[in-house]
Symmetry: C2
Subunit: 174 residues, 2 copies
């Protein structure tokens, strides 16, 4: 199966709800409601709908699913089909179904006991603190400008920053 | 940029080292050493080599990078270019470089403080314990048969299993 992993404008077969500014999430949601998603997505959604148990069988690539499967998740599990806001977690639209990840790895179990070093650290990168811009679509123009300004400001002295310890809890303040 | 995310046989422009059994990781490693990776990968590797700081700017899709960027990591950061065994983490081949994730989200910060529910749980799935087959390539034929047998055995009574709590530490015994 040669599933297309890229989430693009081609996934919507009808006119965009906002042709001025393309937001994939917004347009996929609208297309899902209008039944105008592209056929490869709809075919997969039908399979999910009919399944009681979905087994994701994959080789672990960089501590996660391979891109083709990530693209399946990105494109098939769209808002309106798999969830809504509200309508997620225990009220997600796929409630009543079972999922299972069946994973093969390249390395032995010992190699994975040392979790916490991600792709980048593994390759030798020193990793700087992430720059996270929360929901730029939903904040005011002024706040968006603030986001850009602080990012721009940070970039001026970025060479002076110290890398972070590469452990997952660092992210999202967990 | 319309980068190809799928890791396939097309990534190697020369003969495979094992035409009987295709292993992407093995063949990418060999092709990298023989300088016979496909040109879109080599072009990206050159950019990485020349960079002191790589900024990954992306919208968060399902708690991770979009498939197109996951595919960039899967294909560009191959063994022989980005790391070797040994030759990872602090001795990874990209040592001396800096990396930074610059992320925009669809949801507000509050939505992400409740980490631990993954894609599947978010959509309402009850998630069963993962089936992890460590390094099937590197174990004996007998052990491989054992892996298949235990998987097959498990599937017989899978409908009786209870779902797991959807928190990341569950995986890999962290």
């Amino acid at each position: 199966m040669d599933f297309e992993p890229r989430a693009t404008r081609k996934d919507m077969t009808s006119a965009l709800s906002n042709p001025e500014f393309f937001s994939y999430g917004v347009e996929a949601y609208e297309a899902c409601k209008k039944l105008s998603l592209t056929s490869d997505i709809i075919d997969e959604q039908k399979k999910v709908q009919e399944a009681d148990l979905v087994i994701f069988q994959f080789p672990l690539y960089w501590f996660s699913v391979p891109a083709i499967l990530k693209g399946w998740m990105d494109r098939v599990l769209c808002q309106g089909f798999a969830f809504d806001i509200p309508g997620f977690d225990d009220s997600g639209f796929l409630q009543g179904k079972l999922a299972l990840l069946s994973i093969t790895t390249g390395g032995t179990a010992e190699m994975y006991s040392k979790t916490g070093h991600g792709t980048l650290h593994f390759c030798g990168f020193k990793v700087l603190a992430p720059q996270i811009s929360f929901a730029p679509e939903f904040v005011s123009e002024e706040e968006r400008k603030g986001m850009l300004a602080s990012w721009s400001q940070r970039l001026k002295t970025i060479w002076k920053e110290e890398p972070i310890p590469c452990t997952p809890p660092w992210y999202f303040g967990q």
